[in-house]
């Protein structure tokens, strides 16, 4: 039995727990006790809770047992607010109590009338000043929105970070916006004219500051934009001047005769760029102009470098003279003195590579002549010839003997181990 009872009790507790909710009768009773004790704050809270659950007044409400009391929560809310100094709230509560029609028949009605009359004189119509305050908050909201738009201007991004005052004003205004709105709602509910006026003043002052900040920021944006426009115009002018100079240099270069293939190639490309210039419209961007200028300048430099390179090479060739020992080897070879040429041709005696190659070439050619003149029987000579050719190709794989200066069979032998001889030579 006891276990079953425990189970029943537990089940009942669990069943009842979700049902837990406010009891307006108890709230009301607690409020009356609080009023008796002078605890009007608690009374207000309890009465608001009771009204939320049961707003309608009753002539007689069973409190408990056989105790019946009038249920006039708005009257007692008025009493609590009256004693808390909230006259506006008290008048509103009294009015609601009277509109419900029960309080007029109760002993408490004279007290209501007395307190209400006392409050009425001090209560002002807050709707007008509430509208003003609301408008001020609206204006502040617009000002904040405008300032936020300016903050988002890219041209002002770097400037904004350095303006601590602007950021501070915006942050303060944004924080105040929400709080002022809720304060205004509460003050209107409480009919607190003084607070509403304070809110109005705060909103207007803050709105002025935000607007001033917006004005300063707007001016700065305008200045930055004008400066930027000037910079762009100057850059465009500078680009066109540079382009004109480049075109002039290009045309000058294009009028010259290219001395070699490289300069000719550069000149052709230069002409193509000049053609692009001629097609360039007046609306061409500064970037396009600068790009064409850079290409023209570069190509003119390339053409001139090619011409200069060619001229330098020609001058070097003209200034170059073979060593005297090599001349003697050549003279001995071309004089048919092959033994002398072989003896003179000591490649190790030449520090210059090209001279060493020529020495090896003349010695190989001289030994080949000795070989052919000896009936092409000396394998030793042929081995020596091939050794010299091999040494030459080790020094310069691209080297080919000048065909008209050496016997064809020698040239064939030389090429047999390399590429076909060209007209170029040593």
């Amino acid at each position: 039995m006891k276990r079953r009872l425990s189970t029943l009790l537990a089940l009942a507790l669990l069943t009842a727990a979700p049902l837990a909710s406010a009891d307006f009768k108890r709230d009301y009773q607690e409020a009356l006790e609080a009023i008796e004790d002078g605890d009007y704050g608690t009374a207000r809270e309890s009465l608001e809770a009771a009204i939320a659950d049961e707003p309608g007044a009753k002539d007689k409400m069973r409190s408990y047992g056989m105790r019946f009391i009038p249920y006039v929560p708005h009257f007692y809310l008025g009493e609590a607010l009256y004693n808390l100094g909230d006259c506006a709230g008290a008048v509103a509560a009294y009015d609601e109590a009277m509109s419900q029609g029960i309080i007029q028949g109760l002993d408490e009605f004279p007290a209501l009338q007395q307190n209400r009359d006392a409050c009425q004189a001090s209560v002002v119509d807050v709707s007008a000043i509430a509208d003003n305050a609301s408008s001020a908050i609206d204006a502040l909201e617009v000002a904040v929105r405008d300032l936020n738009a300016l903050k988002d201007e890219p041209i002002l991004a770097s400037e904004w970070d350095s303006q601590a005052a602007w950021s501070g004003t915006l942050a303060e205004a944004e924080a105040a916006l929400g709080s002022l709105r809720s304060q205004l709602d509460a003050a209107v509910e409480a009919r607190d004219a003084e607070t509403i006026e304070n809110i109005d003043a705060q909103a207007m002052a803050l709105s002025d500051r935000v607007q001033q900040t917006s004005g300063a920021a707007s001016q700065r944006v305008a200045g930055l934009r004008a400066e930027e426009q000037r910079r762009v115009a100057q850059a465009a002018e500078r680009a066109r001047t540079q382009l004109a100079s480049a075109v002039q240099s290009a045309r000058s270069a294009a009028s010259q005769s290219p001395p070699d293939a490289a300069s000719r190639q550069a000149q052709n490309e230069l002409n193509a760029l000049i053609a692009r210039f001629q097609q360039l419209g007046s609306n061409a961007s500064t970037a396009a102009i600068n790009q064409l200028s850079r290409e023209l300048t570069g190509k003119v430099r390339e053409f001139r470098t090619a011409v200069q390179t060619h001229e330098n090479r020609e001058r070097a060739i003209a200034a170059r003279t073979p060593p005297a020992e090599l001349k003697r080897i050549a003279e001995a070879y071309f004089a048919g003195q092959y033994d002398s040429a072989v003896q003179l041709a000591n490649p190790a005696a030449f520090s210059d590579e090209r001279a060493r190659i020529q020495a090896l070439l003349f010695r190989a050619a001289s030994r080949f002549k000795q070989y052919t003149l000896g009936g092409a029987e000396s394998t030793q000579l042929m081995s020596q010839v091939q050794a010299d050719i091999s040494s030459i190709k080790q020094l310069d794989r691209q080297f080919t003997p000048f065909v008209s200066a050496f016997p064809p069979k020698f040239t064939e032998l030389f090429n047999a181990s390399g590429r076909t001889a060209s007209t170029a030579g040593g």
């Binding site: 029943l8 009790l9 837990a20 108890r26 047992g65 056989m66 105790r67 019946f68």
Partner: protein, 486 residues
């Protein structure tokens, strides 16, 4: 059966009587010896215990108060209900009871095996009493409520009319006497806690004091038939005349003169799923008392009166000497008296603030108590009159006592008064059932109680005065209550 055989048989039976009492069971009652106690008088079982919640308001509602329990009587009705009280309250309740209690007197079955006849075994206790039935003080402290109370659940002192059966054949006289007296007082403390606005719990502990003064006597005179022996000596004097001067008496007196105290507990749960409904669950654990019962067996012999018969009596005859002789044998045995546990489910519905319907369903654990006795005190005969010596295979008069389901319900209507002094008055009506638990088939004590009540609230709801009456075949109660709110 010859006269001598009958006497011999009876003497053997009487010689065994006292020890045999130890096997006697007792009939049931709201309060009665619980164990198989031979010495407790039969009539102890008949003490009417007031199991209803105290107070006129509760009585007016037919005792259906567990889910209402919103006044200073809640400590007994449902301790959880006390949390509804928001102000201190004092209450005082007076009860006037008229008891007209038929009971089954098994001792009147004693002559049946010898004579084939016996008087009607149904006797009656009648008593009226007026007393303070309940007083309480309740003090709310935030979500807690504490209370202290006094209660009187029984107050009866009744002497049943003695029944005498004269056996004209054997000139024997069987006399049965019963007295029923008992008082049950309680002093309790209760606490309740409001878990939330919809749920509360409560607990009550009560010290109960019981005082019992009862006896159950059976007396058999002239059973040994000396009057017939003397009549043989002096036929001119009738056996009846000899019987009048011969004191030949057996008296078996089972009596209780004792008191005891014991704790009882009750716990309650009150739920308010909505503002209009409340539900209750309570469980009361009844007190259990240890008492001492005395079985007194007295036999006496002698001569009384005057005249010729007396002279013969004094002289004696055939060796029969009736010199005065008295012997008394007293046996004291422990007994146990219990108040049964009660489980109650309650519901109350308020369609409006001025109208209330309430219902309680109770399960009372009478089945946990001892079953009715089936033998007489005198000769340990089966109470249905089965002849001595025959095994009592069928106990026709005895029926078992089982757990009892009862229903209480009631209604209350409030009427407001436009008066500076009187605030409102209430009208209440209710009913409840009472099942048959007398332990015998010869009595049909199940009953339906009709209750009605009126209430008056005055002095700006400070004072509440209620009166209610309960009418039934066995008991009429009138309760007058006053509750004062501070």
């Amino acid at each position: 059966m010859t006269c001598l055989n009958r006497v011999a048989l009876a003497l053997i039976a009487l010689a065994m009587a006292v020890p045999a009492l130890a096997q006697v069971e007792l009939p049931p009652s709201p309060v009665r010896p619980d164990n198989v106690n031979p010495t407790a008088p039969t009539s102890v079982s008949g003490i009417p215990i007031d199991q209803l919640p105290p107070g006129a308001r509760a009585l007016g509602l037919g005792g259906a108060f567990s889910a209402v329990a919103d006044d200073a009587t809640a400590a007994e009705a449902n301790p959880a209900g006390q949390v509804q009280l928001l102000e201190p309250e004092f209450s005082l309740h007076l009860r006037h009871s008229d008891n007209d209690l038929d009971f089954y007197d098994a001792e009147q079955r004693n002559p049946l095996p010898f004579t084939g006849q016996a008087p009607n075994p149904i006797n009656n206790f009648s008593d009226s009493s007026t007393n303070v039935s309940f007083a309480s003080f309740v003090y709310p402290i935030d979500n807690f409520v504490v209370s202290a109370f006094y209660t009187n659940n029984a107050d009866l002192s009744a002497l049943a009319a003695p029944t005498t059966f004269a056996d004209e054949i054997f000139v024997d006289t069987y006399t049965s006497r019963q007295q029923l007296g008992g008082e049950l007082d309680g002093y309790g403390l209760s606490v309740a806690y409001r878990i939330n606005d919809r749920l509360s719990i409560g607990f009550t502990a009560k010290r109960n004091e019981i005082s019992l003064s009862s006896f159950d006597q059976t007396q058999i005179d002239n059973f040994r038939d000396f009057e017939f022996i003397f009549n043989q000596a002096r036929p001119d004097i009738s056996a009846e005349e000899f019987a009048s001067v011969i004191n030949d008496s057996f008296l078996i007196d089972s009596q209780i003169e004792d008191d005891d105290s014991a704790m009882s507990y009750s716990m309650g749960l009150l739920m308010k799923p909505t503002d209009k409904w409340s539900l209750a669950l309570t469980y009361r654990i009844g007190a259990e008392f240890d008492i001492v019962s005395d079985a007194v067996f007295t036999q006496s012999i002698g001569c009384v009166g005057s005249g010729q018969a007396r002279d013969v009596c004094d002289l004696g005859f055939r060796g029969i000497d009736l010199d005065p002789f008295n012997s008394t044998q007293i046996t004291s045995l422990p007994a146990n008296v219990r108040v049964p546990d009660v489980l109650t489910f309650g519901a109350a519905w308020r369609p409006s603030d001025t109208l209330l319907f309430s219902l309680d369903i109770n399960k009372t654990s009478y089945g946990d108590l001892a079953q009715p006795r089936s033998r007489t005190l005198g000769f340990e005969f089966p109470v249905d009159g089965t002849p001595f010596g025959d095994p009592p295979t069928t106990i026709l008069d005895v029926e078992p006592i089982e757990d009892e389901w009862t229903i209480n319900f009631g209604a209350e209507k409030v009427f407001f008064l436009d008066s500076d002094l009187f605030n409102l008055f209430t009208v209440r009506a209710g009913a409840f059932t009472d099942e048959d638990r007398d332990g015998t088939t010869l009595l049909d004590t199940d009953d339906t109680h009709i209750t009605a009540g009126l209430g008056l609230v005055l002095l700006d709801y400070k004072l509440q005065i209620d009166v209610a009456a309960d009418f039934s075949d066995r008991t009429d109660n009138i309760v007058l209550s006053a509750i004062y709110k501070f």
